[in-house]
Point group: D2
Chain length 345, copies 4
């Protein structure tokens, strides 16, 4: 049975990736696209400056873009994907939920709200059930599910595997993030050619809090943040796609490289259409993963790990994921699939 879906913020960088993923999707059918007022009423082809290096899907190109309000979305749409600036998301996402829509959102607003599940399906699918509390407390027919920030998603699958096996107490992470994470106009060429920027506004805090929620326990009612101490340092570099991260973890139990790589390689996946066959790929070559060479593994939905080494208190390793696929559009689609599989539509 095909689920009719809508995309809020369809013209942006993540919106375009959402369309690239949803158009050929076996279970989903694109039924509505929205954007800002200035785009409303135009054909998607006109409204979006398509910048993906694959052609714009012809049938989607002809869809008329609506404004980002529930009124502009047909009633028979069952699932909404949202990738809006957080200020806009904070305002309109609740309107859609109140109007009965189920929303899988990539927008950063509300991710740490107690009754909003923040989910990576392979990591903490059980948190989904906090939606019952959400519906009860907010009186919504719809529902709001969030995926984490792209830089958080890159490191959390390996952190989850290592936490389960050895227990994590401290995490230090330094990121080398691609420009696409800031949207099409987010980083100018004069800022980044022959340069790097050691600051991305709000990013460090997102990594520090979201990761603890994702690895936190859920007792059926409340999600308790994981007790580990997380400190992040975020950098923008001149790559187009793919966030590379250097991670140090202190572990409760003793750990060897061999045991750690075993734990990573055997991290369990989940049976959803867009989930990768192998969640974590571990490289033996010390100079991998690299953004250009490895961001597309598992169609951009895998997480690559390499350079695993023992330290005095635990481990250090590098990890990489495609920030607009695994880290954003693909994450939302996967969450939509999770909602469908669990009867939330």
């Amino acid at each position: 049975m095909t689920v009719r879906v809508g995309v809020l913020g369809a013209t942006g960088a993540v919106g375009q990736r959402l369309i690239q993923l949803l158009e050929p999707h076996s279970d989903f059918e694109i039924a509505a696209l929205t954007a800002s007022e200035s785009s409303a009423g135009k054909a998607y082809r006109e409204a979006a400056k398509w910048r993906i290096d694959a052609p714009i899907p012809e049938d989607v190109a002809e869809i008329e873009v609506g404004a980002t309000t529930p009124e502009d979305v047909p009633d028979d749409v069952d699932l909404i994907f949202s990738s809006l600036p957080s200020g806009v998301g904070a305002e309109v996402e609740p309107e859609f939920c109140e109007a009965g829509y189920v929303v899988s959102s990539n927008s950063s607003n509300g991710r740490m709200d107690e009754d909003v599940p923040l989910v990576i399906p392979e990591v903490n699918a059980d948190h989904l059930d906090v939606l019952e509390r959400q519906r009860e407390e907010r009186g919504w027919d719809g529902a709001l599910l969030k995926n984490p920030n792209c830089s958080t998603i890159t490191m959390v699958p390996p952190l989850a595997a290592l936490d389960e096996a050895f227990g994590l107490t401290d995490v230090r992470v330094s990121t080398l993030q691609a420009v696409s994470g800031a949207g099409y106009d987010g980083v100018t060429s004069m800022e980044i050619i022959d340069n790097a920027i050691p600051h991305i506004g709000g990013e460090e805090e997102k990594m520090e809090t979201e990761s603890r929620k994702l690895l936190g326990g859920f007792d059926g009612t409340a999600i308790e943040l994981h007790g580990m101490d997380v400190a992040a340092s975020c950098n923008r570099i001149a790559t187009l796609d793919g966030h590379l991260e250097n991670v140090w973890v202190d572990t409760e139990d003793d750990v060897t490289v061999a045991d750690a790589e075993d734990a990573l390689r055997s991290a369990e996946g989940i049976d959803l259409p867009s989930s990768p066959d192998q969640l974590i790929r571990v490289f033996d070559e010390p100079d991998r993963p690299q953004p250009r060479l490895d961001r597309n593994i598992e169609d951009g939905m895998g997480v690559a790990v390499g350079g695993v080494q023992e330290t005095t208190d635990g481990l250090q390793f590098n990890c990489l994921a495609h920030n607009t696929m695994r880290g954003a559009a693909g994450a939302s689609v996967l969450n939509g699939e999770l909602l469908a599989a669990n009867g939330y539509l």
Copy 2:
């Protein structure tokens, strides 16, 4: 009084920077240039593929390049700057020292030898006196002084200031290093455009050991490594010059951002011709320092720090220095000036 100097490995990336610094130097005069056998006998203009964005000094361009052996260097040369591949350095530097030459070397061989001073003049000039032990034990008339690796030099001045003020127990550092650090042919364009490489062979170990020697104590005879635990993760990115580093330090004493910035800003310099007026510049803007904008502060001899934040166990901050100036050629020249000032020539 002008010191006549020679440059070993004068055609390489650091060799060219050495010439750029030495040619206008008030106290030094270039009297000999050496390179590999294939370049010997040619004019420097022919032997070197000059790639600095300032013209090749005309008088240096006409110097005939010699082979890298003591026989090809005039006797009246008092000071040798060496920037050779470590294998070559390990072989020929001792020959020069035995022949009576005083060598300020940027080559990585022998940096951790017990009787070889590894010096950043503003940090551990007192280590220079281990040269007396060196001369005695090795029977040299000459002497061998080393500067650290470029990625080590970038972080050690701030580490020294913080160690003195608060005591360091643990250091984690993630680097974003420029391609010039690998020499002209070290990184191909296909490796680095739209990419980053999370591995630089041997670099992590250099940072982990050299930093502990630089901050180590010296009792007049032996240098004791500092007891702090250092773990490094090294990355190559698409910048031309300037190594940017994200650092976490755990401190013995409590520390605030204000106290830390005070300690950094008041780090003492040294009175040598090439030393910067202010050793460490601290930025208030959270997105600084950046390689392109800040690598040239203090004529490329300063260290820039920004993003100082408190963590659970200490601090995190970013630092930056020009890797072929402060981190290599300038470091060697400064060490040469230190040798001259201390009567070793």
Copy 3:
């Protein structure tokens, strides 16, 4: 019926693209790989530093690489693809032809030889028959077929279409070429970051002579160079793949943009497995084609044209093709298919 094929120079940049194209090929089966002496005897996985952003084909990875001599290639190989440095190609390609192998070569040696067909199948497939003269004169059982240089291939399909429609008298072309055209180690990162190089050794002459041979007449015996005057100016820029070219043509007949675009769009293709559905795609948007967005049209085998404008004496336009696909590996594979379709195997 499957043709068993060998690849000479299999570890290089074009060699890897050849393997990427040949491994899934419906008619060809990889039966032999050769490289330099130092690689011979190793598994391909070890011999090649695989740098394509798709995984190395597992079955090819296990093939033992041979030396580049006919003795190291099994007798039942029917077709050889060659991508060797021109000096090596000049030496060993004749040895293979003499030993009876049919060779589709991307190497630049011998392209202008009178009895060597230089072919783009959609443009001058009829030139193939000069092979009869070649076999007669050289006494070969095998045969040697060449594809042109990557920068030539990019402009010749549109030139051919315009020449047929309007007659060309003068061509001026300025190129913006990707670094992959120089091989993996051909352009260092220090040469090209924040830079462009207005010279590629021998490239201008290749474009000026090869294009006139490709558009030349063939009377069954001799190929006569086209009489048009061609002047090229070649530049290397910081793109990974895709050569972009600005072209001016003076035409014998009057020409309008509409007529020119018609002629380009209706350029006939050829019915071979790797040939594109549409040879030339014409963009209406003035800022297209762009290397990153358009190099992969028609699986990298199409030629993109845009910015068609009238000039005083004819037209100016921009064109783009994927230099290691349409311009090198794909060109050779297509030529191999042409050889097979015409009974030369």
Copy 4:
């Protein structure tokens, strides 16, 4: 005697370069800075996002930015430098001229107006006198002088030298332009990393018309456009500064490389504070000039030429100039110096 100057549009990319040049200028003193309404009233330090890799001049940093109206500029300012978006320039520059200010403008509005001199001092200083007609016809006490577009300035000095020596009939030019030419936000990183864009809006027409005005004759009343046919093809590439151009010229007289290089090398300069010692530097190395290596010759005010070759109808060559120095800010400053030297202040 020091001239008090003002800068309109002082916070933009060219505005910052203007300040970098004017602050240490021997004859000029910065007395007023203006920007858009949103910046008015702020200190320049706050209003400008300083992005030059040299420190912001401390005394300029404290100047309060005014709005871009004559009322916000002190009466004792004698000379105005303008670098405004052309729409704004078209509106406010006449207001300044009417209020009595002499304006040296880099803005593109009005460059082809018959009574507006478009000047490169070394090329057509005599055109300056059309200002008398301008003042008469427009009733201005002030005056409006323009410098050409950055891509025009790069090629016109060599064109002028060749035209004088051999007579030019046709010019074809292909450009590889730096991102700074579009201003700080003009080109996004996602547009240009691993990419090139074969279109810059309006740029081709500017090159085609401005070059003919610059080389045109002036009879004391009217400027007659040069009769040569000029066709330009403009590309944006991933360089920060420095426009590189491939040029073909057809000449009336026969020409050899030696004669052409003589004509270029002996192009006369002009005796103004900011003019270079040698206007045109000709490289013998075929791979020069290159943007990163050569944009700073003569402090960014020289024009570099290389790759001079004979063609059937004339010559081809490459040229390069620093687009925000020689091509914009430096061009305006030089024009300001020309105005001062000719008694227009």
